[in-house]
Symmetry: D2
Subunit: 150 residues, 4 copies
Amino acid sequence: MDRHRPGLEGPGDRQAAIARHIRQDAYAAFLGAQVDAIQPGYSRVTLTVAPEMLNFHGAAHGGLLFSLADIAFAAASNARGQMAVALQVSTSFLRPAQAGDRLVAECQEQDLNGPIGLYQITVRRASGELILQSQATVYRKREWFVPPQA
Amino acid sequence: MDRHRPGLEGPGDRQAAIARHIRQDAYAAFLGAQVDAIQPGYSRVTLTVAPEMLNFHGAAHGGLLFSLADIAFAAASNARGQMAVALQVSTSFLRPAQAGDRLVAECQEQDLNGPIGLYQITVRRASGELILQSQATVYRKREWFVPPQA
Amino acid sequence: MDRHRPGLEGPGDRQAAIARHIRQDAYAAFLGAQVDAIQPGYSRVTLTVAPEMLNFHGAAHGGLLFSLADIAFAAASNARGQMAVALQVSTSFLRPAQAGDRLVAECQEQDLNGPIGLYQITVRRASGELILQSQATVYRKREWFVPPQA
Amino acid sequence: MDRHRPGLEGPGDRQAAIARHIRQDAYAAFLGAQVDAIQPGYSRVTLTVAPEMLNFHGAAHGGLLFSLADIAFAAASNARGQMAVALQVSTSFLRPAQAGDRLVAECQEQDLNGPIGLYQITVRRASGELILQSQATVYRKREWFVPPQA
């Protein structure tokens, strides 16, 4: 196999390579989260709340809700192939989620300025109710996990 | 006075009942997190980073690090037996953690004012390096999962 | 129909009374901020950066930028006549502003759930560049500074 | 004048030059805030709430409280002579302050890691009650406003 022959890899191949890398996420697999959409600056991730994800009050754990949002954040902020690491995430918890709830996380880029990127992340029930909203900042490193094209 | 006669529950029994309830956390068990200490306004939780907790860059997932902090936050803020729910958590990610790292989360109450409580949470490597720090707010409901004593 | 007859106060009069109250803000006047638009869940505030608003690096002070955002936040979150107080504001500073810059703050409600309201606030140069973005939470009290209509 | 003659400028002179620069803050002067203490990673700033600093509810404006905290944040994070700019500030508002209240802001460094610095800031009444607490992040630039010593 020779995916890297000159002239054979176009922008579509590059974007597919980035998406493959982002989907090789052990923790997302462990939680059963599915990255449905990855575009530069945007992602959508879905997960169904399982009984082992509940807290001692019987609702979906805040750590689980944040984890779902963070999987979306990582996908959207790394979707240009450049390594982005989270600096800061501010999260509001609006409503509880329950076992069996189908949750949809979306992350949308708000701003890029040099090494800093700003993102908004929401987690909603499939029915639309807002569960969580975050405002989040990444630092973009000089390393690329899929190199930019010449 | 015999506060420990069967049917007469003293302060120590009450604190033990609260700790038992807090330790029945499905998500903490799922992640292998251990709640080592629970006191009113304080907790300490430990976890070792397993391979299934890594992100696509090969470091501990931000969602996992937050989950550990959130388990500590829930323990400290519910440790009076009164139901506390997270309103807002602001998290700074300082350093990456790796597979095999032993992590220690501590949560310390900073302020209580009516229904609002303020907490600081840190996650450190056992060697002391700061991995994550959060400032976090709860809303304390009128419900008690272990009733206050008459 | 004559909603403005003396003694008959319609929705327009009530909204005007709310706007008058919100515009009687000593600190906004002190800074020279102008509340241009007030609607339930929305506001727009403008300010020109004066030399006395600079920090020791010679740029607009972060406290000034936040103050402008906070004036917009207060206007949008109180615009139903119900007293709303800020619980938490998470602010990202994206770009510096300079003396003479005309700044526009906008606040938009994102969610209401019982006593809790969630807002997003932006401060931009008149030319559109993003200077600051906040995600912010209010607690809505049972007091109304302009009573709801029967 | 030869301020750089060997033996004439010691570490004390350098620290004094840094403190002079930090105290030349137009906005702090405009608000009447006084920077009482500046050390690397620490500062203390005081201010008395004046009538022109109140909001339309008659309490100290959130923007004013944040400004006081931000003056302390800037002093502590720039106190090594290296230019530090605020990236993110997460602020909890715990209690209102009133006209005439004497407020004390303190900022304490929590962590330094490469270009990133983490700080905690509190604003208290002189009597000790917590008014505001922030967790805040700076980016430290390669520029120094007072050069490091050879």
